[in-house]
């Protein structure tokens, strides 16, 4: 009698979605993503030596960077890698799915689960800071008052109508409308409160107004009043770059539009006249209006005796808001937090020379909605890891073998 072959065992069919979910929440993906973040961090650390921190971060970790090709010591490394922002985003997704969906909810793993939640919180804090934080600095001389901070990187065009020798109305064209105008691209801008039409072009990230000289090549560059913008290599410290662009101004009087060069290195603004009205135009770092004014009452810079090693920088200030005054002290490691803004003692400066010279304090101003989130995430992560490792250690000690102790 022939025996019938038993039917072959069939594996339960797993849907594509389930497999995708398993992959996205898997430890394999987590390991690869962590390796990638490590590699990107290491390469970015090396690349910032030559390229500067600002450009390296934009290259490696900006959300617009989908992939990067490392360049170390001026040599291109032919190893295309995914952009750091998206690797972190995928890791956050992996952690969330792995933590929430796949993790076995037994008490032994509760510490790991808590730690993962803390890391997700930290990554979210990083993303929020990346997208929504603002930074600038406020330089105030001893006894002076200021209510504006200056952005470190963003340059804007400020057009002001001057009345009685002072700016009356000011309109600002943001950096996002200028920085993409490289090559032959141009953009027209009409100012709502002024009879002026502007056409910007030829944006250069770092340039210097240079006299037109027969011996100097300036092919293709627009010359104006005997000057043209000479492109310069990017500075390693990106905040030291002095960008420039060309602007064509139409004052709407039927005349031919005039061309000017705008440069943040220029010492004087461009002056425009429309009948009796006077306007000035300048390319400068963006000013950021504070909701209150700060008066520097006293600045102290102390050094360890006989050295140039700083021991203490202290700014004693008065916060002035709607006529109300409040005293505060800002010093190293002790910032002032007020109205969702944080003021840090960043550095100091000397304004002027000789006996009339005044000390000036430089305060860093930061607005970051996720200011304290990393701190909270630390508590979560530390608690989670502590629970896990103590449990592991206890298990190890209990289970350790005391037999044959030898080497």
């Amino acid at each position: 009698m022939e025996q019938a072959n038993p039917p072959a065992a069939t594996k339960p069919r797993i849907s594509l979605a389930a497999r995708l979910l398993a992959w996205l929440s898997g430890l394999g993906l987590a390991t690869v993503l962590l390796l990638l973040i490590g590699l990107l961090t290491w390469l970015a650390t090396l690349e910032q030596i030559d390229s500067g921190l600002y450009h390296t971060l934009r290259k490696y970790f900006d959300w617009r960077a989908w992939y990067i090709i490392p360049e170390i010591g001026g040599t291109t490394v032919l190893l295309p890698l995914p952009g750091g922002y998206w690797v972190c985003a995928l890791l956050a997704l992996n952690l969330t799915l792995g933590g929430l969906l796949r993790w076995r909810r037994d008490w032994q793993r509760v510490g790991v689960f808590i730690a993962h939640m803390g890391i997700i919180y930290l990554l979210v804090a990083g993303a929020v800071a990346h997208h929504f934080s603002q930074r600038g600095h406020m330089r105030i001389a001893d006894g002076a008052t200021s209510n504006t901070a200056e952005d470190y990187f963003e340059h804007v065009v400020e057009v002001a109508e001057i009345k009685d020798g002072k700016p009356d109305v000011i309109q600002v064209i943001g950096g996002q409308y200028l920085t993409d105008l490289t090559g032959s691209a141009s953009r027209s801008v009409s100012l709502s409160k002024m009879p002026i039409k502007l056409e910007f072009s030829g944006w250069l990230r770092n340039a210097e107004p240079t006299p037109v000289d027969e011996n100097t090549s300036h092919a293709g560059a627009t010359a104006c009043d005997g000057y043209y913008l000479m492109p310069k290599p990017d500075k390693v410290e990106a905040e030291a770059n002095t960008p420039g662009c060309v602007v064509q101004v139409d004052l709407g009087e039927g005349g031919k539009p005039e061309t000017f060069l705008l440069s943040s290195a220029a010492l004087e603004p461009v002056t425009l006249r429309h009948g009796e009205r006077i306007f000035t135009m300048v390319l400068r770092k963006r000013l950021w209006l504070m909701p209150f004014a700060v008066r520097l009452d006293k600045f102290t810079a102390d050094f360890h005796p006989g050295t140039m090693k700083p021991s203490k920088f202290v700014s004693e200030i008065t916060r002035i808001e709607d006529g109300r005054q409040a005293k505060a002290v800002i010093q190293m490691n002790e910032p002032m937090r007020y109205a969702n803004l944080t003021f840090y003692q960043a550095s100091y400066d000397q304004l002027g020379q000789g006996p009339t010279a005044k000390m000036a304090s430089v305060l860093e101003v930061v607005s970051n909605p996720a200011d304290k989130w990393p701190q909270y995430s630390l508590y979560v992560v530390a608690f989670g890891l502590l629970v896990h490792f103590v449990a592991k250690l206890a298990g190890f000690i209990l289970a350790r073998s005391r037999h044959n102790p030898h080497v």
Binding site: G26, L27, G28, A30, T31, L34, I37, G38, T41, W42, A44, T45, L46, Q48, I49, L53, T56, L57, L122, G126, A129, R135, D302, F303, H304, P305, G306, T307, K309, P310, S311, F313, M332, N333, E334, P335, Y344, A346, E364, V366, D371, P374, Q375, S377, L378, V381, A382, L385, L386, H388, F389, K392, L393, F396, R400, S401, H403, P405, H406, V407
Partner: protein, 652 residues
Amino acid sequence: MSDSSSNTGRKLAAALVLAGLAAVFYNLVSVTRPPPGELRTIKDYSPWSAASIAVAESLPVQDGGRVKPLATYAGFNMLAIFGSRSMTVAGNDGKAQTLNPTAWLLDTLFRPQFAIQHPTFRVDNSAVLEAVGVKPRGKRDRYSYAELEPGLEKLIELADGYESIDPKHRDALQQQILDLAYNVRDFQSLLGQFAFARSGVAIGSGDEPQRLNVSTVMDKAPRIRDDLAAARRDGKAGRGPAEYLYQETTQVAGLAMRGMNIFPPAEASDRSWQNSGQRIMGVLNGVTHSPGPAIQDIMALEQSVHALDTGDAAFVKEFTSLCNDLAQRAAARGEGRHLALEASYNRADWFFNAFLLFFVGALCAVAMWMLGTGRSGRILAGITLGWTLSGLVLCVIAIVERCLIMQRAPVGNLYDTIIFISAACVLLALIIEGITRRRFALGLAPILGTLLVFLSRRYEMGDPKDHLDPLVAVLASNFWLTIHVITITLGYAAGLLCALLSTLYILMRGLRLDRADGELRRALTLAVYGMVCLTLFLSLVGTVLGGIWANDSWGRFWGWDPKENGALLIVIWTLVILHARLGGFIKEWGLHLASVFTACVVVFSWWHVNFLGVGLHNYGFTSGKDVLWTFYQAMLGLMLFGGTAKWLESRK
């Protein structure tokens, strides 16, 4: 594998470890000691009495932003110029006499006739001497100031030229010539400190002119200034006796205008101490508000110098009086409260003694491993533990004393990290031993202690400056220094220890020294897993704490500073190991190979980022990078060896 071949392997491994330890010991001794040379005999040389040295070593000096005992000041000056804190010379009797830093400095300050004959200048490249026209004795040797004197003009001329070259573009010889020029300049400034007291101001002409004490001239300063002003008014400037006295005094004071700030200012609000030159010129120029104390100070110094001609007892009496007065004035200002403690810290040389204890412990550890589990092995385990604990205790005493002297948390600079990591690694290894009781961690503890204390000595030699220095403003927070820096530093220690445990595993299993003892392997693997977890915990918590500190001081949680990135890399690498292990992508061999790589990540974070020349944690030094590359190669070589051993094992 047979027992006999395993035993042969053990002997071979023990021989290799011993050879390595011997190389470390020889290196430390050969670098710490100056190059061998003929014992220098100095005519009529007599050593300082113990009483003179005891008085001098606690004399307060303001230097590098803090008040320290003369012993510390002398130690780092001697280390920088001579390359060691111990010098041997001979007197008329030909017997070798060892000079400690205080004795060496006392000679330089008070007895220049001997000091210029001391073999003070260590020259490691004879080409330096050839370049300045001095005949060298060999490739490396030590030279006295008197021997270098014929080439000093050329040395200064060359140094002037090389100083303008960017340090990155200077070649080794140029840098060595510059270093020698700086050392000569520093030595000259020490030699000249009390020259005014010896020479006074010569008045009159002839072979033996009369000499006025500088303090006497200072006493007459108002009249000298009046006479000078009158001479200028009358158009007779440059010819009168007042002008002569002023110029002569300025000249001798000029030799004492750099360093050796031993006089506390009278005003409590004035934080800068003065040296003899400033004291003299302040009175002479009428800048000092109350000249009386300044004149007294200079007179006391002159009396000490003159008393030396009478004899040691007279010198001790005068110098003790001066030192006590200065120490009391410093104490009245609330400064120099730990001078005696620091002087005793210097005398104790805790870390060198700890090195010796760890070294003997390491030798015992090798013997312990060789002897196995028998009675003699157990006895040796006890002895190893004794030596190791003794070394650890010395390290802990030294670290605690440093905290008391500095009044701050134990880790504030790179040198602090080395000694702290040394103690932490040994302690962690002993804790692991306490848990596992398999003697592998017990053996590793003194070896690690030896290597890390050796590293601290080498680092101090390469960067001979006071590492008890005050902190810059941003670091001046004991709270953050304690919780962030210590946590991160402990993370480095844990990372290094897990790499070393894995090194042991790979070597034992790869060389088949463990007799395929599965339990031993499991114990090592569990220990490494535990250390990876601990490294992650400490590095992660330390990194986030650092971010919180940075958020409070610089306004950002994360600044992508190389040091921050280095710490993050340790966190990420340990996470990679744990996730790969959890996912089953690496097993026992894989865990150990990955754990060895942890050492590379830790060393990158701890040392290598300091060479990159960027960031807020940049220390700005450039030498010694080759050692790092050698270390990376050694670690990668070990991983390759482990990978090959695993492959061979899997083929069987």
